[in-house]
């Protein structure tokens, strides 16, 4: 079992967000976490990330991009600790050839090659979002955890990016707003309402109307 939460509770500022939830996720699964805003999707994902922070490429909702830095360096940043300080310093002066090549390929897939040398504060919300995803891809981990990673993209791009996420990782856990995307691309749906998991089933067992009831 890759992740296991047993009777887990979580409160924030004295406010109980989760009350006794149980969730187990196996390696190889693709899970969409669905629910209205503020029900605790982000909290649940963060709990999972803390269980195995080393092996996970985590794409947080606030993107964690450094505004004065170019997109390329923002992506490179993911592996700072893996490289020597000297390599990092030199890369700042002139991009490292190998890493630049790897990052360029990722950027091509996500259609942000043109923006690689722009500083991220000059990019649109959707482009910034893809830089954050590129950073997760660059880490080349087996598990991807993403918090609304495609919320700023149009329908077409969202599909392409979700497909890329699933193709690049053996296990993916993604919080989503888009119900249709969740049903089409993921094996399993976890629906959250009022601090409890109310849906946990294979996606072909879940209907659109069931998902919509989460938002009522």
């Amino acid at each position: 079992m890759l992740f296991q939460l047993r009777d887990a509770s979580f409160s924030y500022h004295d406010k109980l967000i989760f009350d006794g939830i149980n969730l187990a996720i196996d390696a190889g699964e693709s899970v969409a976490v669905v629910g209205a805003s503020g029900v605790g999707k982000s909290t649940l994902l963060r709990l999972l990330v803390e269980l195995h922070s080393d092996g996970i490429a985590y794409c947080a909702q606030d993107r964690q991009l450094v505004s004065g830095l170019s997109s390329y360096n923002n992506i490179y940043l993911a592996k700072l600790t893996e490289f020597s300080t000297l390599k990092n310093v030199l890369n700042m002066v002139r991009p490292n050839k190998e890493e630049r090549h790897i990052i360029r390929e990722i950027a091509e897939q996500l259609q942000i090659v043109e923006q690689l040398d722009n500083s991220v504060n000059r990019l649109s919300g959707g482009q910034q979002q893809r830089v954050a995803i590129a950073r997760a891809f660059y880490q080349a981990r087996a598990v991807f955890v993403g918090d609304e990673p495609v919320s700023n993209l149009d329908a077409l791009k969202s599909r392409a990016v979700i497909a890329a996420i699933l193709a690049r990782h053996t296990t993916s856990i993604v919080a989503l707003h888009d119900r249709e995307l969740a049903l089409t691309y993921f094996d399993r749906i976890v629906g959250i309402k009022q601090g409890k998991i109310v849906i946990d089933a294979a996606s072909d067992q879940v209907s659109m109307s069931q998902l919509e009831s989460l938002y009522l």
């Binding site: 922070s53 947080a60 964690q64 991009l65 450094v66 505004s67 004065g68 830095l69 360096n73 490179y76 940043l77 700072l80 600790t81 490289f83 300080t85 990092n88 310093v89 700042m92 500083s119």
Partner: protein
């Protein structure tokens, strides 16, 4: 303290605090010497004003050299302090670095100058070091402040344990370097002001001839010096560019005044190892514990004979100056916001604010001392004028941002602008309180019996042991007041408003 200013609303809390401050200032003034000793200050004032408004330069080359040296000391001193301050800021989280910086920062540049003049004479070295040391410590603190407030802290920062340099380079610097550059530019302006004031203790900057001119009642020459000084300050933003800085530094190094004064290493060592410690203790062959007890005894005698009186006067002066600054701001800020609508009046008010804030407190104090005679009053007014000018300028900028609508009435100001800018006003005032205290101490050099008076006298009597001990007291007082004012500052800005060191 929380309870004292507590109220049902933030506004009530701020009002109570302001009233307490004003009441304290007023009550303190009953115990202080704030008489006017001059016979006809207004006549003297008109005489001075007509001189200042009719500037005459008899020796342009002398003036040019004054300016050149003022600039050269400022450029070299501040540049040196940026480098040192940057490295110190990286270690600032260490308690030792923080402590040493707080201590060195608490000693005023003029006091540093008095010390270095003993070691290196009236030389460039003394001037540059007197600027560089306290400035480096200020840079260290402000840079650290900027790092701490960087908007983004990566959530996995704790994993950067072994990659701190990389983290600094990739995450921190891109976010903060613009802020650091802006602050650095601003400090250059401060450096020019400090460098000018160093002339008052004899170093060859513009302040040296300014003091002479004022004392000889040569107000036309004083006017010329002040005018060029303002032009110099106002022009900084046009010529100070990062790319040109190396060129300026080379030029500054080339034009530095040469000085024949050479001190032997033994003399310098003797100053540190024996001159600054009491004579009586050096004659006896004592153990270090006995020495410590002896020093403590000697120190407490000095404290009760001179230090305590100096501390009390310094605090009295600061309290009055702070209250008067608040009062000036309460009058000037609304009226200058109101003048925004009239083009000419607006120009006039911003020019007045510029003159108020760019004239160093020390120079203002010299002027008011000449006009009003020796008491605490000139110092109080000088501190209040300079600080009110600066605070109102910073608030004024915000008022412009908030855009006063056409036809705004005083009630618009009271209900729309004041509630937004008042917390910032209090915050700025508290930040300035530390600087007012520093300046209150130094104004003693002019003869007001604050700590600076006793320190200056000790230097004049060549009693370096006393000077050193009194400097210790001054620094400690400054650190205590700084901590206190920071605590108050935190009380009043719980939201995003946090004012950084903008002196």
């Amino acid at each position: 303290m929380i309870k004292l200013f507590a109220g049902l609303s933030e506004g009530l809390k701020l009002r109570n605090f302001t009233l307490t401050l004003l009441a304290l200032g007023l009550s303190v003034s009953f115990f202080s010497n704030i008489q006017i000793f001059a016979s006809d200050p207004w006549a003297h004032f008109y005489q001075m004003l007509s001189g200042l408004l009719n500037p005459v330069i008899e020796q342009p080359s002398a003036l040019a050299y004054d300016l050149l040296y003022t600039l050269a000391f400022a450029l070299l001193g501040v540049s040196l302090s940026i480098v040192a301050g940057f490295f110190l800021s990286l270690l600032y989280q260490h308690w030792l670095v923080r402590g040493v910086c707080a201590f060195f920062r608490a000693i005023h540049e003029l006091f540093w100058a008095l010390i270095f003049i003993q070691l290196f004479g009236l030389s460039s070295t003394s001037a540059i070091l007197a600027i560089a040391i306290p400035y480096a410590c200020t840079f260290a603190r402000v840079f650290d402040d900027i790092y701490q407030q960087a908007p983004l802290k990566l959530s996995e920062k704790n994993q950067f344990g072994n990659a701190r340099i990389s983290y600094f380079l990739y995450v921190l610097m891109p976010q903060v370097w613009q802020q650091m550059a802006a602050y650095t530019r601003y400090r250059f302006e401060c450096g020019v002001r400090t460098s000018a004031v160093l002339g008052f203790v004899g170093l060859p900057t513009i302040g040296f001839h300014l003091e002479t001119a004022f004392k000889q009642a040569d107000y036309s020459y004083a006017g010329a010096l002040l005018l060029t000084f303002y032009l110099l300050i106002a022009s900084i933003k046009y010529w100070l560019k990062l790319a040109l800085l190396p060129l300026y530094l080379i030029a500054a190094g080339y034009f530095l005044p040469t000085n024949d004064f050479v001190n032997s290493n033994e003399n310098i060592w003797r100053f540190i190892s024996s001159d600054i410690w009491p004579q009586a203790l050096q004659l006896q062959d004592t153990s270090s514990f006995e020495w410590l007890v002896g020093y403590a005894q000697w120190f407490s005698d000095l404290f009760f004979s001179q230090g305590l009186q100096g501390v009390i006067n310094t605090l009295l002066l600061s309290m009055m100056a702070l209250a008067l600054t608040a009062l000036f701001c309460l009058v000037i800020a609304p009226s200058s916001a109101f003048l925004l609508r009239f083009c000419l009046a607006d120009k006039f008010s911003s020019a007045t604010l510029l003159i108020m804030r760019s004239t160093p407190e020390y120079i203002l104090a010299v002027i008011f001392l000449l006009l009003l005679g020796p008491s605490m009053l000139p110092a109080v007014i000088a501190l209040a004028v300079h600080n009110a000018g600066l605070i109102c300028f910073l608030l004024h900028r915000n008022v412009v941002i908030m855009t006063v609508e056409k036809g705004a009435k005083i009630s618009d100001y009271l209900y729309k602008i004041m509630p937004k800018s008042y917390p910032q006003f209090i915050s700025l005032l508290m930040y300035r309180s530390e600087i007012i205290l520093r300046e209150s101490a130094i104004l003693g050099v002019l003869g007001i019996a604050t700590l600076g008076f006793y320190i200056d006298s000790a230097f004049e009597d060549l009693r370096f042991d006393r000077a050193f001990a009194l400097l210790l007291i001054t620094a400690l007082l400054n650190i205590v007041v700084d901590q206190f004012s920071r605590k108050i500052q935190l009380q009043f800005n719980d939201d995003h408003v946090r004012v950084r060191s903008k002196d």
